[in-house]
Symmetry: C2
Subunit: 142 residues, 2 copies
């Protein structure tokens, strides 16, 4: 498992919210959790923190819900770093405090280009692209 459960839910939920935002603007937590197959209350917490970090938006009251205005400028990396931090890309694979270019752990140099690729992959496709592909039926969220 490469991302935390929270992060997995966060990504799937964000893509779904982005998709729904194109049409009738807002989507409730019930619809979200059902669509992505995640525990409702837990997902609510996660979306709550995404809103606090300005990744998603929300509105209370009737006809309220979650929405996303600019799916073109939101990237996977934003969601990943908001929920899991950047440890996946930078923290030492073997858990050494002092690991660095000058004082590397045994796998440091060999793994660096690989995690850089992952970082690039997470950074170069906006959520709107995922939505487009999802609508074409190329992908699943559950």
């Amino acid at each position: 498992m490469i991302l935390s459960k929270s992060c997995e839910y966060a990504i799937r939920a964000s893509v779904f919210v982005a998709m729904k935002s194109k049409e009738h603007n807002r989507v409730g937590i019930g619809e979200v959790s059902e669509a992505i197959g995640s525990p409702r209350a837990f997902t609510a917490k996660i979306l709550q923190t995404l809103v606090r970090k300005n990744i998603l938006s929300s509105a209370k009251g009737p006809s309220g819900g979650f929405y996303l205005e600019n799916a073109d400028s939101l990237y996977l990396i934003d969601i990943v770093s908001a929920t899991d931090g950047n440890g996946l890309f930078v923290s030492c694979v073997l858990g050494l405090r002092a690991c660095s270019e000058t004082q590397p752990c045994p796998v440091h140099a060999r793994v660096k280009p690989i995690r850089d690729q992952l970082l690039t992959e997470f950074s170069n496709k906006p959520i709107s692209d995922f939505v487009a592909d999802l609508e074409k039926g190329k992908y699943h969220l559950k």
Copy 2:
């Protein structure tokens, strides 16, 4: 964090044990945990499971300890899969049960080559190589 704490300790401990095995054969858990800077009792548990899985060997009693006979045929992937399983390389990045080549999640295809690279990296250098480099002072384990 890409590997579990247990796996980090397992790798560092195994490399250290492999290094010591070249000289005076066996090394006690105290020396291991001190050398790699890990909690002693917890590390003991971890080495215990590595022994059970035939990755390391051990001997009880005076002049006993942990050792490794064939560092040439032990690879990082053996330690990683023994402690963390193979989820890092195969389980869906977004946590979808049904994710597969034919029913992929939005990131499936793009991440696959990257995790394959990681798998290759973990598979192509025996622990003995790490020991050699470590003895040259190229690396650190703490």
